[in-house]
């Protein structure tokens, strides 16, 4: 028989991941809900998940490849940009949704108990659906350009996991911060808009790095997505392997994720009182 102990003095550092596992059905259901609701009553339905990345790529190709003549070597520009776009779109959508997720679930949070972490976590699952569709777009482009994937593709799952962790780390931090300081509701869209310029989505990172002093490059790679995008391109397209700078980025991802769990746990105790 399960025994529940509620103690005002319990340690704030017990993460209780087992409990999270007990609630896995909830988080599939929540993810399913978000997915379903996103395309409910739209005429094109899931087709939107294709149209959006596709149109973005067309715009990128026009502006950056045709207009600004960005050089991506042997790799077709569209394919190059698609790899960046896939990870950035996943990261930004999960981060944006997770950030406001707890506020959006006020009704539930005040009426029933469940591990609150389920809410932002479920957003990472929803994002995966759109993400896999973008990956499909990449596959289609590769067939179109008759571009064979590199052997490094075996490392792709690792970078996908890193992308999930990065998105969650930032998303969980933001969801907890938003509860405490509503200011973050305004900061998140701002971060998302500017983030893309400081992330090598539409252009190769080298282009910036070689014109910047070293300290600026280090700051650039504090961006958790920067290293991941390098990794994506390396594993799918066989471009330059992620350099030393990328490891800074990976370190930031891990640090953000672990710290987010603890900070969330701390805020979780007072969520229902202040949300």
């Amino acid at each position: 028989m399960p025994k529940t102990i509620i103690d005002a003095n319990k340690s704030a550092f017990a993460l209780d991941l087992k409990e999270l596992l007990d609630y896995r059905d909830l988080f599939y259901t929540l993810a399913y809900r978000d997915f379903k609701v996103k395309y409910a009553q739209t005429f094109l339905g899931l087709a939107w998940a294709f149209i959006q990345p596709f149109m973005t790529l067309v715009v990128f190709a026009l502006v950056f490849s045709r207009g600004l003549q960005i050089d991506t070597g042997d790799i077709p520009y569209t394919l190059f940009a698609a790899c960046g776009l896939a990870s950035w779109t996943y990261f930004s959508s999960v981060m944006g949704q997770a950030g406001s997720s707890i506020i959006g679930a006020q009704g539930m949070v005040q009426k029933i108990y469940f591990p609150r972490l389920v809410i932002p976590l479920s957003k990472a699952v929803v994002g995966l659906i759109d993400f896999s569709i973008t990956l499909l777009v990449i596959v289609i482009l590769m067939i179109f350009y008759q571009f064979a994937p590199s052997a490094n593709i075996v490392f792709l799952p690792f970078f996908i996991v890193m992308a999930i962790i990065a998105a969650l780390g930032v998303g969980i931090w933001l969801s907890a911060l938003t509860i405490r300081y509503r200011d973050f509701q305004h900061i998140i869209p701002f971060l998302l808009r500017f983030g893309m310029f400081f992330t090598p989505v539409a252009y190769p990172a080298v282009l910036l790095i070689k014109r910047m002093p070293e300290w600026a490059s280090i700051i650039y790679y504090l961006n958790p997505v920067a290293g991941i995008i390098d990794g994506f391109r390396w594993s799918i397209l066989g471009s330059e392997p992620p350099g030393t700078l990328s490891y800074i980025s990976f370190g930031v991802v891990i640090l953000l994720f672990v710290s987010s769990l603890f900070y969330f746990k701390k805020v979780e105790r007072i969520i229902a009182d202040i949300v």
């Binding site: 028989m1 005002a8 909830l26 509503r182």
Partner: protein, 407 residues
């Protein structure tokens, strides 16, 4: 296995009022620099040193006035919010129902919402699948299962939500009376289901204002007053204690001061309404079928000719029941009070709205209809003829029965 299902030791819950903590960054920053960040906050103890035990298979009712801490206690027990001090041990699987239909999403179909709501309440998908047909049967909405819930009537929504809740099989059930809103049929369905659960030997914690339900459903009762346990005992003992002690003298309503902008408004205004019982004592709950009175204090700023003061009584859903007014008279500036006494029409138990109107030459210069209430109730008498289903007016007509003799 011990026979104690819930043990609560010295639970307290503190809220900070004046500051919701969900503040802005600026407050934090200014607080950081001036070192006096949250001095404007005030402490409020919603619960103070609550201790009790609930035995396995026992149904226990928690009663108390609004603001006594009942809901906070439920929230702490359901782990929605954490206590500030103390410790609780709960032995067994808990389901808490503070609301039906938590998490229902209007865009999803009935079927999808059953799964969503069920998993939120702590059931696994397999469990829901196994009980799905039963749930649908119980709700009576099988025809609309694949329709989005936003197209449901509110009654259908509640039925579906309750059907899910009713199929939870916890060892310990924590229920808020909020559950018992809705029409009479739904209420009795709720109570009936809870009686079943209690009969199966499960532990129930039930918060309610409905003394009758507490008495009939629970064996034991806890009476909370200002966040403290004021009385524990059998359900009847706790209810009796509540009725003797909790009916507080708060039958005074202060009216907002009108803007006094127009010429008409400058004539005067009512300031305060008090509800009084037969003995002219101020009270918020009036006994049934006894004379009662309303006292209205008002101030006239100018000479008012042909002055009339009127009160109206409405049901809470705004059906007018009656209006009574004074004889017209001319009044000089000054402070006045009017007493409306009713000793002929007796209203059924329940809450009613009170409206006040002041007029001069049939032109109204103040009308107040939201915010003053009277309540009639008679907790002690369980005379069903005086209770709900007999209509708004309790007065009896004269009835004569005579035998027809065929000539």
């Amino acid at each position: 296995m011990s026979d104690v299902a819930i043990s609560v030791e010295n639970i307290s819950k503190r809220y900070l009022i004046g500051d919701t903590s969900s503040g802005s960054l600026r407050e934090v920053l200014t607080g950081f620099f001036s070192n006096q960040g949250s001095q404007k906050t005030e402490e409020f103890w919603a619960l103070k040193d609550i201790s009790f035990e609930v035995k396995r298979g026992e149904a226990i009712g928690i009663i108390g006035k609004n603001g006594a801490g009942k809901s906070t206690l439920l929230k702490v027990l359901s782990r929605i919010t954490e206590p500030t001090t103390g410790r609780i041990e709960i032995d067994g699987r808990v389901s808490s129902l503070l609301e039906v239909g938590t998490g229902f999403h209007p865009e999803l179909t009935g079927r999808e919402n059953v799964f969503l709501n069920g998993t939120i309440l702590g059931m696994s998908r397999d469990e829901i699948k196994a009980k799905f047909d039963e749930i649908v049967d119980f709700s009576g909405v099988e025809k609309f299962l694949d329709t989005p819930v936003k197209r449901y009537s509110s009654g259908m929504k509640v039925r579906l939500a309750f059907a899910v809740a009713a199929h939870l099989e916890p060892e310990i059930l924590i229920v808020d009376e909020v559950l018992a809103v809705g029409d009479a049929e739904f209420q009795s369905k709720c109570l009936g289901k809870m009686r079943d659960v209690a009969g199966e030997g499960r532990t129930i914690l039930f918060v309610s204002h409905n003394m009758g339900a507490v008495k009939s459903l629970c064996q034991r009762g806890i009476f909370l007053q200002q966040g403290k346990v004021a009385k524990t005992g059998t359900a009847s003992e706790a209810v009796d204690y509540y009725l003797e002690n909790a009916v507080e003298l708060k039958g005074v309503f202060s009216l907002p001061l009108p803007s006094l902008e127009s010429q008409l408004e400058k004539l005067g205004y009512a300031t305060e309404i008090t509800i009084e019982n037969e003995q002219s004592e101020i009270t918020s709950i009036l006994p049934l079928a006894k004379p009662w009175q309303v006292r209205v204090k008002f101030t006239l700023l100018n000479h008012v000719s042909h002055f009339i003061i009127a009160i109206g009584i409405k049901t809470t859903d705004d059906t007018a029941i009656r209006t009574t007014w004074s004889k017209p008279q001319d009044l000089e500036p000054g402070d006045y009070e009017a007493v409306f006494r009713d000793d002929s029409v007796f209203l059924c138990s329940g809450v009613y709205k009170l409206a006040i109107g002041l007029s001069s030459r049939e032109r109204s210069f103040q009308y107040f209809s939201e915010g003053a209430y009277i309540e009639f109730d008679d907790f002690v008498k369980k005379d069903t003829a005086l209770r709900n289903n007999s209509g708004l007016i309790l007065n009896q007509m004269s009835v004569n029965i005579s035998q027809n003799v065929l000539s």
